[in-house]
Structure formats: structure tokens, C-alpha cells
Subunit: 307 residues, 2 copies
């Protein structure tokens, strides 16, 4: 049966293809390793689109900066990719109409149409992973910005002359509030002589990861809970900024934290309400976790073909 | 002659009414003092609309948080205003259709339709005055956010636990980069033993204002130019953040700085290009100054009636 739409999420290690039925349900999936050459990538994407039954169009989600002509300017996780004219190459190779967009932008599209942000005209998606990516819907339309680069929430500077970021800036939000930053704050605490149980478990300061903190906090370790509070304060600073700038009705968090909403959501909401401007006079945005999980990128890519 | 549209900009001290012709030119103006009671305000607005020849609608620009029902939640500069149902009251009093929006939002509309941002689908207006207000166009539409509060750029936190802001937050961008902040940075420099010529001119550290710095910088005072560089660094941090978030084609600055673009624009652009992520791989937004000056609020309010 011909699917209603086909999309592919290109990650650093695998390409995940998704076929959607008329009702938005996932009717097909195909995962293949991400090739390490642009030619190999175009071949793999063509193959996945064909296997999943794409007949006229395919959407592709890519990490990094992608412009509105479907050119991938740079992507930290994709080997050898620089100024890759992905839409043009894939259209020529596959014969399909091709739509290419940033993975967090399309995840926002997916959660807006089929997930945790259904029906919200002003919506943010904040993806807390290795870094922090994002996407937004304003006034009932998915936004890309002038060049296609909008929604780079992780590179909002929240600490002038702060921690250097691989992007070249200093003090980017993702240095303090990404999924990986939980481990950073824990190592800082351990270096300062705190977090003794976690340190004993991990073996050394350098070996401490976010998972150690999450596990210890679940067991009631107050020092681990204090690290989660520090992390939540940093998440809240960005959330305050995003709320003052976009005034969203709903903010959808995606990424690793989504697995532990009971541990992270209360301290994040507490810190957010503590620091936000105009507390009594304004309604709060809903803070929710993503519903579509790791398929969001593929689903959103498929939905690009229906916009 | 009946004007094409009538708008009124409500300020802390005066209400400025503007009538626009079919071609967007200003064909009438009326200024009256802002009354200090809600009833007086509604009377004055009704009078201005009538005098300027409004026949079916009037737009009103107000400072502070205004929701999408035209209720002014709070405004620092308007005495006794709290939860004022301005649209409803003014419609009942005047018999006109009434549209109410934030003053920076409508200034953005004005610069987008008739000023420095004409034809730009992704546009930011940054108003550097006593504080920093803003408005934005994304995807070719003026945006208000879920509640009407979008574009509060000045309350983006750029320094955790930084200078307290009257809004209740700490480290808001407007504490470091508003028009008034130039004086703050100058007083800091004078306290640290610098800025000797400016200090002598002003008489005391407390008496130093931004105008002293601007005048001294014009005369070539290197210490004053250094203060402008510090100020420009803070403006640039916010500009980096706004660019990473919205990816605008153009950023329009309005407010007092617009009088001295040659003094402020080069250091702001320099600091912005120094700190911005992805420098070589991405096009820069155009940084321009507003064209419509103090009439922007009234013109934008009038344009609300034509959206």
C-alpha cells in the first residue's frame, strides 16, 4: 500500500526512515547506518525512500544548519559534510520531490501536528540532547527564519565569557542545560567536595555522568537532588528567555530528560516560576514532554511533504 | 477628508494620534497630555480619534503587557493602570472598532510596512529606550505570541544573578544594553578611576549620563569610546541571541541610539560579528536604524486597523 508520506531522519550513526498512513500513524520503518560520504548518503536516502514506497516526495531531517534551498552548511555529527546540496543531489538521484529541514524544526512540526503540541498556535520545541536544538511555531505556522537557521536555542548566550562552546561562542545555554550538562554540574559539585556517594559509585570525578546523578537522585541522595536543582536553574533561565521572547502557549521538551519527567519537571517548573517576570499578571505556558520519542524526526520529515 | 486609518500611541506623558492617507503618509497629528485616570484616558483617546476623523476603527499602542483581548495588564509608565479593559471601554465610549497592542509590536509593524524593514519576511524591531522592548515578524506575519506578550526582548536574562530588574528578574538584557545603560557603564568606569574627562564635565559619578559619554566620544575621548565598546558588547550579546533564535533578515534598532548611528553601529556590528556562531558559514542579518522616528507607534497603531 502506498503510504501518505515518507520521511527520513539522518543521524550521526543511522538514518531512520518512516512511512505514515493517512491518519498519521506509522505504517513503515527502516533503519540503515549513515554512510560516511555524501554520495553514500544520497544512495542510502534514495534506497530508504524507495523501500518505504515513496512515490512523489520525501522529507529529510538533518542535524546542523540547513538553508532554505536544502543545502546543509555544516553538521557536527556528519563526517565530511560541508555545503552539501542535499536537496538538489537527492532530487536528481531519486526522481522525487525532496524537502530538507533541520531535525529539531521537523520534530517541532511532528509534535505540533501529531504529538504533545497539537493545536497550539504558538509552540516551542526544546530538544535537550548532546546540545540543545529547537524549533518553533508562531501564529499557527512553522517558522524557519530568513535563511532557515531559526530555533538555535542552544546557542543563546546566558553567561558572558562563560564556558567555551564548540560553535565558537562562549557561555551558550547548551553548555549549562543540555542533557550532557547534568554530568558537567555533577563533576563541578564533586570537585568542590560534594556528591560523595555518586563519586564513589563512578570511581573518579572524570567518570561521573548524568546517569549517575539520575540514579542517585532516584534513591533519594540529597546531594544528587541538589545537582538536579542547579541543572534545573539553568534550564529555567533559558525557559524564561524563550517565554519572554516568543510567549508560547506550550513548550515541549524532547531528548533524554523525557525518560524522567517526574525527576526533572518539578524542579524546572519551580525554578521557572521563581525567576520569571510578571508572575502574578500572566498565564504560564504549559511545560510538557514530547510524545513521539525517537520517531519524531522521521515523522516530522514526512510531514514536510504535506505542508 | 476621511483618513485611511487612525492610530494613537499612548505614552507616559502624552498621547500622540496619527492619521494616515491611502499611501501611508501622515495626513494628521494630534498630541494631548496622557490623563492620570483610566476614565480620562478613554475620554482623551475618543477625542483624538474623533478629531483625526476616524469613522470606523482606531488602533491604540500602549506600553507594557497587553493581552489579545485588548486588556492592559500593567504598564510601568501609566499611573493607576492595572488590568484595564481598554478595548472594551474604548469601543463602548467611542462606537469605533478598537485594536490595542503593545507599542513596540506596532512599531515593528510600522517599520515593516512603511519603514526600515519593508518587505522583510523575518524581521525584528529592538527598541532601546529606558528599557528594551521589541516586536517581530516571522514568516511574513506580525507575531503576538499566545497571550499577546511576545517580543519582550529586554527581559532576556544575559547574566544569571546579575543586576536586579524592576520586573523582578535579575540580569535582564535591558539592565546592560538599554539606552539608559550607557550611563550605567559610564558610572561603573568612573568609579573604577577611568573616564576622567567625562567625570569632570558631569561633576560627580552619580551625575554622569549617557549624553556625557556620547558628547565626549564625538570629541575623540578614548575612555568614552571604550565605554561605548563595553555597551556595544552587551548589545551584541542580545543580538547574537536574537539571531540564533529568530534568524532575522533584518534587525531594526529604534530609540535614542538612532540619533547617533555612526557612533554606535560600527562597534555593535564589530562585537556582533566577533561573538556570533557560524561566522563564515552563514549570512549576517542587516542591522539598520528605524526610519519612522517618534511617529512609529502612532503609525503602527493605525496600521493595526488594516491587518
Amino acid at each position: 500500500m502506498t503510504p501518505a508520506a515518507v520521511g527520513i531522519d539522518v543521524g550521526g550513526t543511522k538514518c531512520l526512515g518512516v512511512a505514515l498512513g493517512e491518519d498519521g500513524s506509522v505504517v513503515g520503518e527502516l533503519r540503515l547506518p549513515t554512510p560516511d560520504s555524501p554520495e553514500g548518503l544520497v544512495d542510502t536516502l534514495t534506497h530508504i525512500a524507495s523501500e518505504l514506497g515513496a512515490v512523489d516526495a520525501v522529507g529529510v531531517a538533518v542535524p546542523g544548519l540547513v538553508n532554505r534551498d536544502g543545502v546543509l552548511l555544516a553538521a557536527a555529527n556528519l563526517t565530511g559534510v560541508k555545503m552539501l546540496r542535499l536537496r538538489e543531489l537527492l532530487e536528481a538521484r531519486s526522481g522525487l520531490r525532496v524537502l530538507v529541514d533541520n531535525d529539531n524544526t521537523v520534530a517541532c512540526l511532528a509534535e505540533w501536528k501529531l504529538g504533545a503540541g497539537r493545536g497550539v498556535d504558538d509552540l516551542l520545541l526544546v530538544g535537550l540532547g548532546t546540545g540543545i536544538g529547537g524549533g518553533f511555531v508562531s501564529g499557527g505556522a512553522l517558522q524557519r527564519g530568513h535563511n532557515g537557521f531559526a530555533g538555535e536555542f542552544g546557542h543563546m548566550i546566558v553567561m558572558p565569557h562563560g564556558i567555551p562552546c564548540p560553535c565558537g561562542q562562549q557561555g551558550c545555554w547548551e553548555r549549562y542545560a543540555s542533557g550532557n550538562s547534568l554530568g558537567y554540574h555533577a563533576r563541578e559539585a564533586a570537585t568542590a567536595g560534594k556528591l560523595t556517594a555518586v563519586l564513589a559509585e563512578a570511581g573518579s570525578v572524570e567518570a561521573i555522568r548524568g546517569e549517575h546523578v539520575t540514579a542517585a537522585a532516584r534513591a533519594g541522595d540529597t546531594e544528587a537532588l541538589a545537582v538536579i536543582d542547579i541543572f534545573a536553574d539553568w534550564v529555567a533561565i533559558g525557559l524564561v528567555n524563550l517565554t519572554n521572547l516568543y510567549d508560547p502557549g506550550t513548550v515541549v521538551f524532547s531528548g533524554g530528560l523525557s525518560a524522567d519527567p517526574d525527576l526533572f519537571l518539578p524542579p524546572i517548573e519551580h525554578a521557572f516560576h521563581e525567576s520569571m517576570y510578571g508572575g502574578d499578571d500572566r498565564p504560564w505556558p504549559s511545560i510538557v514532554f514530547a510524545e513521539l520519542g525517537p520517531l519524531a524526526g522521521g515523522i516530522g520529515a514526512a510531514l514536510l511533504t504535506q505542508l
